[in-house]
């Protein structure tokens, strides 16, 4: 079973790129939540989350982004989701989140959404 990994990288324009790998579920969501909350606490509200290597997401995982997007937007930021795998995109579609979150195919495309 693939483990759960999160890597963050600072980009220009106060954007942080977050690469998420593995399974985001009721067991791992707190790690994702902590990563985002730590960024918010440090004044970063522009997040690009790369989901291309995320194998699976449950409602607990999606709930992290649901709970955070409002705070990001209230602070002139946003949470842009990048390249979700078909399984992960299916869950966002089922929950009706694909109309709420902005999606991008690459970092440049995501960065333009903050312009």
């Amino acid at each position: 079973m693939a483990e759960f990994h999160i890597q963050t990288k600072k980009l220009n324009n106060n954007i942080v790129f977050i690469a998420v790998q593995g399974f985001l579920d009721a067991h791992t969501f707190e790690e994702m939540e902590k990563t985002i909350n730590d960024l918010f606490d440090g004044g970063t509200y522009r997040l690009v989350v790369d989901l291309s290597k995320l194998d699976y997401i449950s409602s607990a995982g999606a709930g992290v982004f649901i709970g955070a997007i409002g705070t990001a937007q209230e602070n002139d930021g946003n949470i842009v989701l990048m390249k979700p795998s078909p399984n992960v995109k299916e869950v966002f579609d089922l929950l009706g989140l694909s109309q709420i979150f902005p999606f991008a195919n690459d970092v440049d495309g995501a960065a333009k959404l903050f312009a």
């Binding site: 579920d25 009721a26 449950s58 709970g67 869950v91 089922l94 929950l95 989140l97 709420i100």
Partner: protein, 148 residues
């Protein structure tokens, strides 16, 4: 029932959710269910078990959760049993997702997903004995109820 039948028992710890998903995946692949349904049904079972882990056993009391899969040519049935406290999904309303986002509400979507994905969700509670949650997915679509 027949063709596919197996069960696993886990303790109420989210670290075993991956094990539940792998088991469900293996059962689905042995059944006649479409591979297109695999991710969704794994999700429904994951949500059901995660919900029991969160709600059924108070004060972090250790308990077990039994997950049984049975399938034949008509349907794929998952029966989940625990002996924790009652939590009836019937009482949970469908969420307004925009309201969730606005209220920054992170939880309360699992039962909605379970109902959305499965053709039947049945819950039986026998106090002090066992809770039983049955999730059914019909293969090739839900059969029409015979007309009287």
């Amino acid at each position: 029932m027949g063709e596919v039948h197996d069960r696993i028992v886990i303790t109420n710890d989210t670290k075993f959710l991956g094990f539940v998903r792998e088991f469900t995946s293996r059962m689905i692949r042995q059944s006649s269910l479409s591979r297109e349904d695999e991710n969704k049904i794994i999700l429904a079972v994951d949500e059901a078990v995660a919900n029991i882990i969160e709600h059924a056993y108070e004060n972090q009391r250790e308990g077990t959760i039994d997950v049984e899969c049975q399938a034949d040519a008509q349907k794929f049935v998952v029966t989940i049993r625990d002996s924790g406290q009652q939590f009836a999904p019937e009482g949970v309303e469908a969420p307004n997702i925009e309201g969730h986002v606005k209220a920054k509400k992170k939880k309360g979507l699992g039962i909605y997903l379970m109902r959305l994905i499965m053709d039947e969700v049945r819950y039986t509670f026998r106090e002090g004995i066992q809770n039983e949650l049955v999730l059914v997915k019909y293969i090739g679509g839900k059969p029409k109820t015979p007309q009287a």
